[in-house]
Chain length 264, copies 2
């Protein structure tokens, strides 16, 4: 056997957790190992009560919930309190999918202030890199001293998106240059061999397809086994199901089986 | 004189207003002509009262105010009501600088719902094109039947930004393909010869320079006369001045003089 034919060993979540310097990626990988899930619930509903019910039902099957606080018509401090209680009850992290995309000076206020005060409650946030590295520097200023990790949007699942080629490569570089704050990517496939960087893929359904506004879907098997991503993000496949708990269980199994297949 | 040496006639704001099919660009150009201003105030303060005071003081000098509703700690319906009253009193438009940057299905809710309900009060919004044309389609679905125009972020003023080259060109194409909704660009220089498309440039100060988080500044003269943009967006140069009214007046004069110089 020649060296070039040696398949690199795929590390387990637990092995990777031990190599992470960022507290948030370590916590997330430990939850994934312990609960046997790489499923993130994209809780795209517009009422707090509906979101909390959905999260309580699916909590045992997920490692993280992804929110859009700015789409909740009745967002308030009480909602945040209850979401945090559920994250403790079911042991998952909270990821606010704000997609920060402004200059550093502006994202400082968008992250820390306003009605939503995201930096008070989110474990994970994300940012577009189109404004340049200043967006990461601005967010990191706010995150200083808090346990918050940032994902960079390196690729998108929507049709005709511009996060490709050089855009993606520059984004990977910004991530690798900011290990104290950036914990990984929103992407469609593995982009970095650094075991501390997590790859999370949205637009996952049990069958491939496309919605009316350009969103395209991949399967857990394709995302985890073939493309080498770490985490599947599922929205409509769960909250749109007649039985969201059962749907979450199915995505948990499909995603984890695909991970085990990659390990073997 | 050979034809290639003929300088194309620069249209006045009034001439361009008559060529616009979108009600919002027509209104904005008429305000610019009437009030003799191409100045947009970027009202980046974090308290409603402070914002309203600033806007009331500078209102006579601006054609539009740019807000970040999500950085206002005390955002509420009463604030929106008062801002609208000021926009009537001083005759300016309201531009919510949300930089929508998600897939179509998500921006529908971010634009119409949540605590901010942006589509209820903004005359102008903007979007990043990194998600592809679906972001415009999603926003347009919400804007249907309302007088709201959308700007696309074709270029940015921050250091190392990725809105360049093909990214910018695709953005111009998306704008030109959606004249019923897209009224222009956030950009650093003129990108389209279509007189109905407005060019607005942020990062304007009376002196060139850079802030600590990568924002770079150009002068009104450079932006309007040399680069052929239509509108200057000024934040810290006004709200950070000891006399914001006088600062706004100076930017109004500098911006309008640069426009007159381009006409002649």
């Amino acid at each position: 056997q020649v060296p070039s034919a040696v398949k690199p060993k795929v590390l387990t979540y637990a092995e990777r957790a031990s190599q992470c310097t960022h507290s948030v990626s370590r916590r997330l990988l430990k939850i994934m190992e312990q609960k046997k899930t790489n499923l993130v619930l994209s809780a795209d509903v517009t009422k707090s009560k509906e979101l909390l019910d959905l999260v309580d039902k699916t909590g045992p099957h997920i490692c993280m919930v992804k929110t859009h606080a700015d789409t909740l018509d009745d967002f308030c401090d009480d909602f945040v309190e209850k979401l945090k209680q559920l994250s403790n009850k079911h042991n998952f992290l909270i990821f606010e999918d704000r997609k920060f995309a402004d200059i550093g000076n502006t994202v400082v206020h968008q992250f820390s202030g306003g009605v939503h005060r995201i930096s008070d409650w989110a474990d994970v946030i994300n940012a577009h890199t189109v404004p340049g590295a200043g967006v990461v520097q601005g967010l990191q200023k706010v995150a200083q001293g808090k346990d918050i990790g940032c994902l960079l949007i390196a690729e998108m699942s929507s049709a005709g998106n511009l996060a490709t080629g050089d855009y993606t490569q520059v984004t990977v570089k910004i991530a690798e240059e900011n290990p104290d704050f950036v914990i990984g990517f929103i992407c469609l496939s593995k982009l970095s061999s650094n075991p501390a960087l997590l790859h999370m893929t949205p637009g996952v359904q049990l069958k491939e397809g496309q919605d009316a506004l350009g969103q395209r879907y991949l399967t857990p098997q394709e995302v985890i086994s073939n493309r080498g991503s770490d985490i599947i993000i599922v929205g409509r496949g769960i909250y749109g199901a007649s039985d969201p708990t059962e749907a979450a269980r199915q995505f948990q199994i499909a995603g984890y089986d695909a991970y085990l297949a990659r390990l073997s």
